[in-house]
Symmetry: D3
Amino acid sequence: MNSELTNAQRADVLIRALPYIKRYNNKIVVIKYGGSAMLSDDLKKAVMGDIVLLSLIGVKVVLVHGGGPEITDMLGKVGKKSEFLNGLRVTDEETADIVQMVLAGKISKGLVALIGNMGGKAIGLSGMDGGMIEAKKLDEKLGFVGDIVKVNPNPILDVLDKGYIPVISTLGYDNEGNCYNINADTAAASIAGTLKAESLISMTDTIGILRDQNDPQSLIPLIKVSDAPQLMREGVIFGGMIPKVECCIEAIRRGVKKVFILDGRIPHSILIETLTDEGSGTMFV
Amino acid sequence: MNSELTNAQRADVLIRALPYIKRYNNKIVVIKYGGSAMLSDDLKKAVMGDIVLLSLIGVKVVLVHGGGPEITDMLGKVGKKSEFLNGLRVTDEETADIVQMVLAGKISKGLVALIGNMGGKAIGLSGMDGGMIEAKKLDEKLGFVGDIVKVNPNPILDVLDKGYIPVISTLGYDNEGNCYNINADTAAASIAGTLKAESLISMTDTIGILRDQNDPQSLIPLIKVSDAPQLMREGVIFGGMIPKVECCIEAIRRGVKKVFILDGRIPHSILIETLTDEGSGTMFV
Amino acid sequence: MNSELTNAQRADVLIRALPYIKRYNNKIVVIKYGGSAMLSDDLKKAVMGDIVLLSLIGVKVVLVHGGGPEITDMLGKVGKKSEFLNGLRVTDEETADIVQMVLAGKISKGLVALIGNMGGKAIGLSGMDGGMIEAKKLDEKLGFVGDIVKVNPNPILDVLDKGYIPVISTLGYDNEGNCYNINADTAAASIAGTLKAESLISMTDTIGILRDQNDPQSLIPLIKVSDAPQLMREGVIFGGMIPKVECCIEAIRRGVKKVFILDGRIPHSILIETLTDEGSGTMFV
Amino acid sequence: MNSELTNAQRADVLIRALPYIKRYNNKIVVIKYGGSAMLSDDLKKAVMGDIVLLSLIGVKVVLVHGGGPEITDMLGKVGKKSEFLNGLRVTDEETADIVQMVLAGKISKGLVALIGNMGGKAIGLSGMDGGMIEAKKLDEKLGFVGDIVKVNPNPILDVLDKGYIPVISTLGYDNEGNCYNINADTAAASIAGTLKAESLISMTDTIGILRDQNDPQSLIPLIKVSDAPQLMREGVIFGGMIPKVECCIEAIRRGVKKVFILDGRIPHSILIETLTDEGSGTMFV
Amino acid sequence: MNSELTNAQRADVLIRALPYIKRYNNKIVVIKYGGSAMLSDDLKKAVMGDIVLLSLIGVKVVLVHGGGPEITDMLGKVGKKSEFLNGLRVTDEETADIVQMVLAGKISKGLVALIGNMGGKAIGLSGMDGGMIEAKKLDEKLGFVGDIVKVNPNPILDVLDKGYIPVISTLGYDNEGNCYNINADTAAASIAGTLKAESLISMTDTIGILRDQNDPQSLIPLIKVSDAPQLMREGVIFGGMIPKVECCIEAIRRGVKKVFILDGRIPHSILIETLTDEGSGTMFV
Amino acid sequence: MNSELTNAQRADVLIRALPYIKRYNNKIVVIKYGGSAMLSDDLKKAVMGDIVLLSLIGVKVVLVHGGGPEITDMLGKVGKKSEFLNGLRVTDEETADIVQMVLAGKISKGLVALIGNMGGKAIGLSGMDGGMIEAKKLDEKLGFVGDIVKVNPNPILDVLDKGYIPVISTLGYDNEGNCYNINADTAAASIAGTLKAESLISMTDTIGILRDQNDPQSLIPLIKVSDAPQLMREGVIFGGMIPKVECCIEAIRRGVKKVFILDGRIPHSILIETLTDEGSGTMFV
């Protein structure tokens, strides 16, 4: 598709990236990756390509991934049914085991391998590695669904310092040897906050926050944290978007400079957002 | 059991460890961990305790683990039967997926968590992390059973350099995105050789190599690599011990100073071997 | 002009730059800058933009500039006529003074200021700074026209190490306190060779080497050093291009991996050459 | 004597040392060494062995030694009689000379040699080295008995940083070139305080502080600094123990975490105190 | 002239330099260099010799130079007449160009070459290099005469850190690409203040501040900053010395420890002031 | 005595030191110090002043001292008579003890204190410190007179690296805990050779090597190592000077660039030799 571009156009795209490269140089960007963008092989490659590119031009990328659909899939294979309580999966010990295997064994290491094949260097970390995420039960009735007690940034910083992209599975541990499943949006916000990241990019299956659900042109490009409660009351932010937005607000509150909700279904939406003067999705400040 | 010891005896044990601590100070020791020592929770804690202790007194411990029984167990849960060819599991893509999940997701991260709970710091690495183990098919008929093409020591050294114990799942990758299951003994020997480790300790379910199978007192404490072929011909080294011994010989050949086959069923056999003037098992030089 | 591009096209240009960014990461690229590209303010800005961009994405750019027309201009202002001998300016002490002022005072510092205004960091160095270029008279009749005795790479490497782009005026010194004017092509080749640069990019006022002077489509994209003598004999390489090509060959011979002759009249020809799969000009290997 | 221990008992002693090794890892421990423990060759070897072991497992040991009996011995040899005032030796210039020779020449260098023979690395420092201890006269009548003006921790930290055990003779200097003899307990407390040591271990010729002098079972294992005055009033702390306890209190007051008074006559009492869950002697907190 | 000195006298001079060497060791000394000391070749060599010597014994020398007479000279050569306003040269764009060439091209690089020939290592920096001096117009009527907006100390510190003597031309830049001529005394004071220099040495064509203009014996060796206004009112400080003294006071106010006005016409006045117990000129504190 | 010098003369002495400072910058100079220069307090101060000055201007000075007269003196005090065999003191255990105390306790620490009082930083090292000098018996009949087995340069380099002047007592140790007295000239040559020192300066009580013993004007300023045997045969080098010269030759043979024999009775002869174009004494190359 690029074939019709002139060299001048190519050069123009690159040279316009200059101020953005300068802005993000040596800064930490946390990317929360999940949903459709993770299920399509083509989108997955595009996202990993974007990440390797950002990493090469000096951005310290931290990748935090989810994996709900693959967990459900694996639970199905072993014939385990999940019960849900307020949208959260009741996680008994056997389920926690499957979650750990799918997130830290399959998805994380799969992304690491894909980054490697695209020319980058990554290490897959879970919340247990280096004592990164200490957790406790969120609610006795939910079993091993974790509430973050403390994020230890050192394993992430050590891995970044050695030039690797950390690929993080949002599991947590406690001192009795239990493993917890932690919501990836919550964990990404908490990690970004602890790292005082320059930005947190959250990939979703929507085009961002729309003033009118029926009108894709009504995208709200920028939301001030102080205006969010009003937008929730008005129903502009609603349903599954509410906890996501709450995570965004929490991240800002803890020192992240900018938070973006991007449409993960658009290839290279990360590059477009970070390295061009175009934007897609909604930014919180 | 320690309660009857006098302080003088305690001090004596500690002070006699001095020359051994000095010898291993800042040296790399690769421990291949598998078999019974991994299935019993008590033994597992004892082994992790030994590793944390060695790490604290300045030894650079690299832990390489296996996981055959747990793989079989998980394959059973998803109703997948394994076919074997010359003792090796035919590994189709679905099986490779399960192997990856069990090794890198469950066992590795479980050991990491246990090390953390005992006061150590560990990071779980697979062969994909940082491009550590490149592999190719060992035999087309075996599917994704891997033959090591190259070991890249940098991810291991980087993680050691930051003060973590690397806990390695012996998976391999190729440039087409495949994941391979690699025999843990082979991988441990190859890793120890690449790292020019001071020693490789291989934990087994036997008490070492016996001259007379029926006489546990006939343990051979030391075998010169040059004498091994004769011992194989004589049937002293036989059956499943042959490939293990071949790995030991290969490690020595690639520059590892000493290789030990230890009885993993004895608690703290690692400490006894490394920090006391007693030994258990067989040493290859 | 970029306005008609879609986001997908923009992303595509960026993502295709990935392998090139990886290739040049942390490598030294020497750019010989002169001719038309230096006289037009727009082209000058475009070149400096390219250099700042390369520098930001991790390329160690060394800029070597010429300045013949501006020297002629200044000599005119002070009413000094230049005599030429075989195309080289006879340089008496007064002329040498003017050359030093124009190169090290005006052009070098002007480029440094421009790089600064575009978001980069540069330091202007002459051959005297840190004892970089020791020279002697090329020919007694030419006066202070210098022949390089030795290039000391340390001032360049020190300045690169601190994160600055060195902007080099090709003056030389001797131990009697004389200052020499050195041909910029020769100096750039010598500097690139001493630095064992990844590549040397020489900007000219031609589109590269054409097989047929009258046919711009007949550009020879790649010349093996071993084929150059034949091309000179055939007259394909001729006139003022001969010394330039000889410098290219000398650079290759001294360890530079690739040498490019680019058309400096095309905006962003450096970016197109280094970060896209398009090329312009001729490459020597 | 160890010969009757089983391997399991040996392993048990080592593994129980783990939390203690962890606690003291990279921490500074100051050991005040004198009295009987210094006069018996066997005890001296035992103490140096303990120190080398602690040093090898990552403790930063600082050894401060006394030497009263050897000074008296040497003064005898040169036919010099000492006068005492309130238990302190009146130190004229000739005596100060002898003190300096015995402490810095004989004892310090002898301990350094012994540490070397046991596999450790030490450097003998006096208060003059690197300007470590500035002193002034404690009392005009006592001559060159020193009162500490300032401890400069840099020579100690520099020597530790290079991996040596500093062995310190408690001499002091002033700006007029005089050398002072300083009480070793006082100096050790002052050094430990300046270094903000993790602990100060003071070796004595008693088993610790006894509630009833006639009952060795009445050892007080722990004394709060705030309770010490009452114990002095009650006569539980009395005689020569009073100034020692005052040094312990002063060390705690200046930031040392824990201070121990150990019985130097028991071999390896340092190891038992620091690396086992047994204790001997009295701890101040 | 040295030939009549005895070795004892030579040694005495050197040994008396000891406390001064100690005082200035690793400290930053800014030298403002201009006037007669710059016009005589012998004096220039003497000053550069002093600077190389100071640099070799561990002083971090920063050289700030002027160049009024050489600018006037060059303007004359191109037939450009200067107009003056309150003693300041009206600087149109063409004049600014000449100033830049003379200062950054001729004088700075000439001093760099001279330092090199005397065994030192220098790099010539202008206010544009590394974005060192941001400036704006001092007065619209004066054209490109600059008023300092901000001094960025990093290029100076980076160059010092790599072991070079920075030789600074007092030019400034703004974000529109203009180049400004800045008074060297003002710039030196501002640079010394930003660097928190140990001392600022200002070389002039007078022997210092005299209480009685007609009596060279009436030199005031030391002036407290608080006494300066009174001395101005009394006419002791008058004429061209007033702005110089104001720069000295400004430097003291911004954290420079000591400021010296030295007679640049006396060879080696810098050495005499810094390394002997003699002084020449006037010191401000 | 300096009072009659003009400032110009002072400056001249300093500026002439420049090339010498440059030559010795960051180089190791070993000074063997003994004889009369050590017995006079004034000369001692002068020597220490020279050493502090050299250290401050960037020379890495290593001071090796002797102490024969002070040993004899102390042996006298304890009523111990020395027997001599071929000019070497028969050293029984008691004598060895006294030697250790006098060298490492009195002289070394005394010099350290003096250096401190003159503004330098020193640490006194003996051959035991850090395992620096391993020795064995030179001759059974001589007792603890040592022959050097090996010099370990690390303690010297570590102490230099931290900015201290090592002051070395030439004692040696063996693995049985014995302490040996080693000839200071031999030890200095061996240390200088191991350190590949730039120069070794040996202070003696003569004015150097004279062609005619009765004519102080007949000093031989330079001797080639290859010419020394002939000079010995001729009797120009004779008596106690022979072993000294043999040490000088040995040092040159082991890689020391230049060796000087200086007259220690002349104040500041070290400074005159190293920092002026005058010389005193004899140089071996």
